[in-house]
């Protein structure tokens, strides 16, 4: 079933394919984010929030990629545990710092948006607290990787941590439906967002996703190159 995936999971093939894709990804990322920002800043002010609605176009994409990055870690961790594939370990490890950065951005921009709309920077409700827990999960995951010297052992233990932490993803997603909160409910799929805001928002989400994929591919390429350099050094030393 995953034969096609394993064909490209070969590090040499991955380097070739990602090298071809990267210039296109960079161009698409710049184009998409540029278009999203242009349309976002051209949109009229919200009748309640005024211009602070502009924060929507950077907050929601950051929060989306925060969850997406963790989803990528979970899938890579599954492949790591089941198939023991070295590229799955590298993919999981390299996605974590990027996910953590997008989580920080979701928290900070959300807080800066919360003050003018709710009257407070922070509330200990399910959505905000589970997002903070997500940041701790990312930091804990990275710390665990760094704490264990044996890479194979670290990969197994971190994969288990990632799978256990996956329980937080549905909590973040559905928390606004489960409990009363200052945070607004789901508005993209429910049609609660005006077209003037929806179009730039969706384009920005795509742009942020492309940015994450681009940075992630470069990080995986870097990790593969560093491994090659390490094995060459061992050869030189021997």
């Amino acid at each position: 079933m995953f034969d096609w995936l394993f064909r490209y999971a070969n590090p040499a093939r991955f380097m070739g394919l990602s090298g071809t894709l990267l210039p296109w990804l960079v161009a698409l990322t710049v184009l998409t984010i540029g278009t999203g920002l242009y349309l976002g800043f051209s949109a009229p002010p919200d009748y309640q929030q005024g211009r602070t609605v502009l924060i929507l176009f950077i907050h929601v994409p950051a929060a989306t990629v925060m969850e997406m990055a963790y989803g990528a870690i979970v899938i890579a961790s599954l492949f790591s545990l089941v198939n023991r594939h070295i590229l799955a370990d590298v993919a999981a490890r390299t996605a974590a710092p990027l996910g953590a950065i997008f989580t920080v951005l979701a928290l900070v921009t959300g807080s800066l948006w919360g003050r003018p709309t709710w009257g407070t920077f922070w509330q200990w409700d399910w959505r905000m607290t589970s997002t903070l827990v997500q940041l701790f999960l990312y930091v804990g995951y990275m710390a665990l990787w760094s704490a264990i010297e044996d890479e194979t052992k670290a990969a197994r233990i971190c994969a288990v941590l990632a799978l256990v932490g996956a329980v937080n993803i549905p909590i973040i997603k559905f928390s606004v439906q489960w409990s009363a909160s200052l945070h607004q409910g789901e508005s993209i799929m429910s049609g609660g967002l005006d077209k003037a805001f929806l179009a730039p928002l969706l384009i920005m989400i795509l742009g942020y996703t492309l940015l994450f994929v681009t940075l992630w591919l470069v990080r995986i390429r870097t990790a593969i190159t560093e491994r090659r350099a390490r094995s060459l050094m061992q050869g030189v030393g021997a």
Partner: protein, 47 residues
């Protein structure tokens, strides 16, 4: 209008500023690490 200017100064500019610095900085860090790894490998391959 004045309220919009206040919103820009207090919330919108900081939110966008932090985003630009974080994502720009991350991109530079990722790119720099890639260049360094490639240079190291190239130097080792010459030995």
């Amino acid at each position: 209008m004045s309220m919009d200017l206040g919103a820009y100064a207090a919330f919108i500019v900081p939110a966008y500023g932090i985003t630009i610095v974080a994502l720009g900085g991350t991109s530079l860090w990722v790119w720099g690490a890639w260049r360094a790894a490639r240079a190291k490998l190239a130097a080792l391959e010459k030995i």
